[in-house]
């Protein structure tokens, strides 16, 4: 069987971005390969969206070998479902500034690639996106959201100037301590389910942790 994978690009323009399912089906019809990768561009897709992509593809006898996206949320979803995923950093994507619900102010967003190690401290005047693990003894903080494509084992502080709407998201959320705005919480004792990205946010005055797709 042919194993070279063909790429499908979900190149939606501004008006019909909600129609990506239809678009995908049309692309799949034209496919002459069983092995595909999908470039989700700047679509913000949840785990549930990704699962429906997988389902649709399998109806067309296609297996997905990996995902690409410029949206951190999409990448966290695909990664947490166990797919090879590549984040494409695109700070100039106007669309994600307007539309993204996870990156609130991309102009001030900070991007860090690599493990944040014990004793290291990273801070962002906007959102903070980390591709890598945050180890025990490390501290990451942001005035906006903290999004970690990796494990959070150290301390994270989102909304540190008081924004209580800020969120902390990670593929594996097992921090020493979480802080959002002025609230502080100890990390959960039990291990999170493998393969399920989680987020922390303030809900009725308390920091609560839930699966990422409800974001």
């Amino acid at each position: 069987m042919e194993s070279i994978s063909k790429r499908i690009v979900l190149n939606m323009d501004n008006n019909n971005s909600s129609n990506w399912e239809l678009y995908l089906k049309n692309e799949l019809k034209k496919m002459n390969s069983n092995n595909i990768e999908i470039d989700c561009k700047d679509l913000n897709l949840s785990c549930i969206d990704i699962m429906s992509i997988i389902k649709i593809s399998s109806k067309f006898n296609c297996t997905i070998s990996g995902f690409f996206s410029t949206s951190p949320k999409t990448i966290i979803s695909t990664q947490s479902l166990g797919y090879p995923s590549q984040f494409i950093f695109n700070p100039y994507s106007k669309k994600s500034v307007n539309k993204s619900d996870i990156i609130s102010d991309q102009s001030k967003a900070h991007f860090h690639q690599g493990t944040v190690r014990s004793g290291e401290y990273i801070d962002s005047p906007g959102d903070l996106l980390i591709l890598g693990d945050v180890n025990p003894g490390a501290i990451v903080s942001a005035e906006g959201n903290v999004i970690i494509w990796g494990k959070l084992l150290g301390i994270a502080h989102a909304g540190k100037k008081g924004n209580s709407k800020a969120k902390i998201a990670a593929l594996h959320l097992r921090p020493v301590q979480l802080r959002i705005a002025t609230k502080v919480a100890r990390g959960p004792q039990e291990k999170p389910q493998i393969g399920l990205a989680e987020q922390a946010r303030i809900f009725s005055e308390k920091i609560v942790i839930s699966p990422l797709e409800t974001m």
Binding site: G114, T115, R117, S118, G119, D133, P136, G137, L153
Partner: protein, 271 residues
């Protein structure tokens, strides 16, 4: 005169994890392979590399006199009795710490590079001046750690500092591994450690009572007790450092039927 000298820092953050023991054994092993090797004791506060190598009574001059130009480098270097390819440059007086600067360490290492293939620097514990001086003179590093939370935490801190100072490659040696405790999950597993530290594993060293015996005798294991479990580990680390492809085995898997399997593990060359 050596051209492409490798200058390797042996460090850990935490004290007592086995840096000096590794430096001594790696020094002997590299020398055995025919490489002219210098070990530099950069732990001026708690010097003991000379003790482990059994060379304490032969020291006349130290790095201090070399830096103060009171003697030449070759006068301070102490050649090992049995392994003539190995020389020790002893640490000076602990008061050296008051004035020693990164540039001084660089000067010493530049001199050593002129005549040795390998320079191993036995680093002091901590992340303060002693560590920074030693790091300034190094190109690559070996992090030594134990399967314990506090040792791993300190190692992680040190790795961050090595990365910001462009020291590379940085490789990992996990020392004092007890397969039985790992199997019963009383000890951090190898994966636990490498997951956090995200470094290539250069090797494991088994917990071995012979290490203590050899320390007291001033004869590194790799010198005369080459069949002891830890000696084999050190030798394999030296070979991997030289680029030989020696596979690692999982001590837990190997020990999961304790007894026979464990003895096999102790005899295996692969560790």
């Amino acid at each position: 005169m050596a051209t492409d000298t490798r200058v390797i820092l042996i460090c850990s953050g935490k004290g007592g994890v086995g840096k000096t023991t590794l430096t001594a054994n790696l020094g002997i092993s590299l020398a055995r392979q025919g490489l002219s090797t210098a070990v530099l004791d950069a732990d001026f506060g708690l010097r003991n590399l000379d003790l482990l190598l059994g060379l304490e009574n032969r020291i006349v001059y130290t790095a201090q006199e070399v830096l103060e130009e009171e003697c030449r480098l070759d006068q301070a270097l102490v050649k090992h009795k049995q392994e003539s390819n190995l020389s020790l440059l002893p640490a000076g007086n602990p008061r050296m710490l008051d004035w020693l600067k990164p540039d001084d360490m660089k000067r010493i290492v530049e001199m050593l590079k002129e005549q040795f293939d390998y320079v191993l620097i036995d680093c002091p514990a901590g992340v303060e001046d002693g560590f920074k001086n030693a790091m300034a003179a190094s190109q690559e590093a070996i992090i030594v750690t134990n399967p314990e939370v506090s040792a791993v935490r300190d190692a992680d801190r040190v790795i961050g500092l090595l990365n910001t100072n462009a020291i590379k490659p940085v490789q990992l040696v996990l020392n004092r591994v007890r397969p039985k405790m790992m199997a019963s999950q009383e000890m951090l597993s190898i994966d636990d450690v490498t997951d956090i530290l995200a470094l290539p594993l250069l090797g494991l060293v088994l917990e071995d009572e012979q290490v203590i015996v050899s320390t007291n005798r001033g004869e590194p294991l790799t010198l005369n007790s080459v069949n002891s479990p830890a000696a084999k580990c050190y030798l394999n680390i030296a070979k991997r450092l030289l680029g030989e492809d020696i596979p690692l085995i999982d001590p837990v898997e190997e020990s999961s039927g304790f007894g026979a399997k464990f003895r096999r593990l102790m005899q295996t060359k692969i560790f």
